[in-house]
Amino acid sequence: MSLETLLLYFFAAAALAGGVLMLIARHPMRVALALISSMLSLAGIYALLGVHVIAVFQVLIYVGAVMVFMVYVIMLLDVRDPSFLERYGRAMVPSVAIAAVLAVALSAAVSRGKMITAAELAPRHADRAAATFEVQPFSVEFIERYWLHFELTSVLLLAAVVAAIAVIKAGRRHDG
């Protein structure tokens, strides 16, 4: 077994362990830390696959922006609120059963499916150059073909900022 396969199994196990810890941990801060470790393991998997751009984005955007924001809010809110002491709601058994059925069905489909090998796949994409996921080809493709989408995401982010301010403002008016 090569080192890469070994690392792949290690990161997969770490991501799974983070997911399981999220269900078990009591305090939201521990849940956030478990989620962060899970996301970092996923970034390791992306780096192993050679998709370096996405690994960097995973660390920068998810861990660096989203989860830091989440940790900040947990620290802001959770001072006197004891609600996290009771972990689970009432619908525990049916929801676990639903998720288990879904997991079994999906993994049966995955294990039954026939994998297309890369050699079979190659003729279908013969018209375009073999794409690699390094930074330079990604950036060229991104700016040359998807610049409009990139600009549209900035509009989306602006809308999100305006909506967040509007939500907070509406709450303030409701209070006072």
Binding site: L8, V51, M70, D81, F138
Partner: protein
């Protein structure tokens, strides 16, 4: 096990763990984080297929999904803040009159 199958199985496992978390946990912030876990599982399958078929547009799509997830969190957190300001708790059981 084939590498693609391993990654797809991991993606399914993460999605289902997140689904269980959303359904059984009571804390609103924890539910949000479990939704993030579900999204991460789906993104893992998207990256797996994009890498397997060597499509750069898949990577671009993943980047756009990241941006949308950041926007989603930016909206969801103020809503949770407002909820906790009204009832002083994050327990979703306290907001049961919101249904139907």
């Amino acid at each position: 096990m084939d590498r693609t199958q391993l990654l797809l199985t991991l993606s399914i496992a993460l999605f289902c763990l997140g689904l269980v978390g959303v359904m059984i946990r009571r804390n609103a912030l924890v539910m949000l984080m479990c939704m993030e876990l579900m999204l991460n599982g789906v993104i893992l399958s998207l990256v797996t297929f994009a890498e397997r078929t060597a499509t750069l547009s898949g990577a671009v799509l993943v980047f756009l999904v990241f941006v949308v997830a950041a926007a989603e969190i930016a909206i969801a957190i103020p809503i949770v803040l407002l909820l906790s300001r009204q009832r002083h708790t994050l327990d979703v059981g306290a907001y049961s009159e919101l249904k139907g």
